[in-house]
């Protein structure tokens, strides 16, 4: 008897990802789809994708999807969720989308304690537009707009948005994960599942930040990209639970 140990999750459509080889978006998409299947919420979930490499997320997630302008995912999700409080609304956003142009919308949705979930892909770059500096780009890291490497005097410092959000009373659960190894990926899935569960339990705002390789713009192989995350990126962005207030609610 053949037992299937691993296969494509149900709510991931049968389409080839447009992502580059080794891109963390693919892994994270799959985890989200698995969680949606396991929690059995596909018919009441609504995804708000970003402008960013994941802009075509609707080609992959087999659920209702409503597009947001660049950076405005949290506001769009707020509108959706307030009208449909018993649906599961989540945004999927990049670091440029959330931590640069969407800073205000993100912080205030979190501060209002909107009962939504955010999957926050931190790949330290503007993937879609071709590798410009992101708020999360590491000091010294090269990008097309920091050809000499990020210089704190000129370009400021990597922004730890999750830590800032953790200060807000409206946020319940914030965890930073990475998708650089099977072990980390399993932890990432657990975090994503917990984040959705918190929304299902109506506790408030939950967020999972995913350290995610962008081999193309980092100009590294996928394998080296994962190593680079483990060795360097986690120094600035340590993985682990940043805030968990779910027990107190």
């Amino acid at each position: 008897m053949t037992e299937t140990i691993f296969k494509r999750p149900k709510y991931l459509k049968d389409a080839v990802f447009h992502y580059c080889p080794g891109c963390g978006h693919g892994i994270t998409h799959r985890l989200v789809a698995e969680v949606i299947e396991e929690l059995d919420i596909a018919d009441r979930s609504i995804c708000v994708p970003p402008a960013g490499c994941a802009v075509l997320a609707y080609d992959y997630f087999d659920i209702d999807v409503g597009e947001a302008a660049h950076g405005r995912g949290a506001a769009v999700a707020t509108g959706l969720k307030r009208v449909l409080p018993d649906r599961i609304v989540f945004t999927y956003q990049g670091d440029g989308d959330m931590a640069a142009i969407g800073t205000a919308e993100t912080i205030h949705a979190a501060n209002r304690g909107e009962n939504i979930t955010t999957i926050f892909i931190n790949n330290g770059t503007y993937g879609m537009t071709g590798g410009q500096m992101a708020p999360t780009t590491l000091v010294g890291q090269k990008s097309t707009t920091t050809p000499g490497g990020r210089d704190t005097k000129r370009d400021g410092n990597p922004l730890r948005l999750s830590e800032m959000l953790a200060l807000l009373d409206g946020t319940i659960y914030i965890e930073r994960v990475s998708v650089t190894s099977p072990k980390n990926i399993r932890a990432a899935k657990k975090a994503i599942k917990k984040a959705f569960q918190i929304q299902m339990d109506r506790l408030g705002y939950s967020l999972v930040e995913v350290l995610s390789p962008c081999p193309t713009n980092w100009k590294m192989s996928p394998v080296d990209s994962c190593k680079w995350i483990d060795e360097y990126m986690t120094k600035t962005f340590p993985i682990g639970v940043i805030k968990d207030n779910s027990e107190n609610k």
């Binding site: 447009h18 992502y19 580059c20 080889p21 490499c53 075509l56 879609m128 537009t129 071709g130 193309t216």
Partner: protein, 181 residues
């Protein structure tokens, strides 16, 4: 008269610089020229391409919906361009990397084992120049001299060794295209 040439392959194969050098060669020929790289990063993928238009007159649209010529360095590119090249056009294929054969009958297809020839010259870096030399020789869009000049215009102060290698590549490609197939 206006000629439109498309260049396509994977990122890193020197596709864009082929087009760039052709454009500079045409400038040396005192022609009008436009160069349009594959445009936009909103959809990702492994391919790169560009289009060069060369004309005695002002150039209107720099887009080639049906290019006269195509130089393709990998299989997906060949599959794509054999579909859109104009009737009577010429496609140059790097046969070292593309095993399949083109299917159209109404275009001329020229296979160049560019990697092999390049290795013979001492470096795989000459692959794109070999293709370009072959292209110039077969189409007459520009001369080998202009190509070599365009190439050194582009490379400028960069390593003399590379300029040399490239020059050899251009000549070798032309030779092969004209005499050895």
């Amino acid at each position: 008269m206006i000629t439109k040439t498309a260049f396509a392959g994977s990122g890193g194969q020197g596709v864009l610089s082929m087009g760039y050098i052709l454009a500079y060669a045409a400038m040396r020929d005192k022609k009008n020229v436009t160069y349009l790289p594959s445009y936009g990063a909103e959809v990702r993928g492994g391919t790169a391409n560009c289009t060069v238009c060369i004309s005695d007159e002002e150039i209107a649209s720099p887009v080639a919906s049906a290019p006269d010529y195509a130089i393709v360095l990998n299989k997906p590119s060949m599959l794509k361009y054999q579909g859109i090249i104009r009737k009577g056009g010429i496609m140059l294929v790097n046969s070292s990397l593309v095993d399949a054969k083109a299917e159209r009958e109404d275009i001329e297809v020229i296979y160049i084992p560019a990697n092999k020839l390049a290795l013979e010259l001492g470096s795989e870096r000459a692959v794109n120049m070999i293709m370009l030399g072959a292209f110039a020789a077969k189409t007459g869009v520009t001369s080998l001299e202009s190509l070599a000049g365009g190439m050194s215009d582009v490379l400028k102060s960069k390593s003399a060794g590379l300029v040399d290698l490239n020059k050899k590549g251009i000549e070798r490609g032309a030779e092969y295209a004209l005499h050895e197939r």
